[in-house]
Assembly symmetry: C2
Homo-oligomer: 189 residues x 2
């Protein structure tokens, strides 16, 4: 049985490499080197780079802390805003260079791997549903300004966020995220 | 002197390949094969794959027809909507699989090539300025609903469009673009 800690090291190394160089720009050798393990041991744990990408997305999804969107201690609109602020702070830690793993994989791999495309689709749908539920709560308590239906607005905000994150990856500063929050405040709060 | 038609074939082939497989997923050999020319002749025309990417972006930028944003035959808001509809029709021709070349290169290459990152940044800024000017015109004639400043809204719409295009690349349908237009109508028109 492979030691769990090597598997863990490999997933962490893959997160680094995929963020830094993308999927096609990263070789198994790069991941092994970053993890400090021999190249051969990667295949003791993962059948393919694609399988490793699946595990990286699981890890990334957990780090989004979507469960906080259900935390009724905060009113719906401030809770939703805090969610995006949490994501923004995470991007800031890496000087806005990392972008969103879902957006990165979706952009790079949608035409290359139907497995990855389907996984990204499901992740973005789950996130959209969680955002939509908060907007529905806001509507119920009369706290949602926009006349747009919660479901439509949920989808729009998730996509607009992905676009802002992409732009921040290019500008290397927080301006596109600040812009998102300004329009968010006008559209939602 | 290389024949201009070979150069042309190479740029067209690179557009295909970069859209299909991304920058890192595309080899010079793939571009040569798609263009139907020997691999060596690529380097008669371009110093590097990165130089070819610059030319591909020029070509792509011209195909966005930003000049139509200055066409005063149409009122500002319908003109802006028609601009995004034009981009949507272009995406539809390729079953939403291609995405936006600026977004694709920005996502994949921002960490890898400062040259490409800077080019994408300039392209997105020029596009944002053109969109902003139309919104300013709309504001002048009292046709802009949103209380958000034209400049902020211009930046937001461009980024939200990029996010919708990314999402459509993953869902492989027009739904994310329809969603963009629905919110556009509520936000702008």
């Amino acid at each position: 049985m492979p030691r769990p800690s090597v598997r863990e090291q490999l997933v962490e190394a893959a997160v680094e490499c995929f963020h830094e160089r993308g999927f096609n720009g990263t070789g198994i050798q790069d991941i092994a080197r970053t993890a400090g393990v021999p190249k051969g041991s990667v295949y003791n744990h993962f059948d393919s780079k694609e399988a490793l990408a699946g595990e990286v997305m699981d890890r990334y999804a957990a780090s989004r802390k979507l469960e906080l969107l259900h935390d009724e201690a905060l009113a719906p609109v401030p809770r939703l805003r805090a969610h995006f602020e949490y994501l923004a702070a995470d991007l800031e830690r890496f000087s806005y260079a990392r972008g969103c793993m879902f957006g990165n994989f979706g952009t790079e791999l949608a035409n290359q791997s139907d497995t990855v495309r389907t996984q990204v689709d499901a992740r973005l749908d789950a996130w959209t549903s969680a955002v939509t539920r908060v907007l529905e709560e806001a509507r119920t308590v009369g706290a949602l300004k926009s006349p747009v239906a919660a479901e439509q607005l949920g989808q729009f905000l998730v996509n607009a966020w992905e676009g802002a994150v992409l732009r921040a990856k290019v500008t290397r500063d927080r301006a596109p995220l600040d812009n998102f929050f300004d329009v968010f405040d006008s559209l939602v709060a």
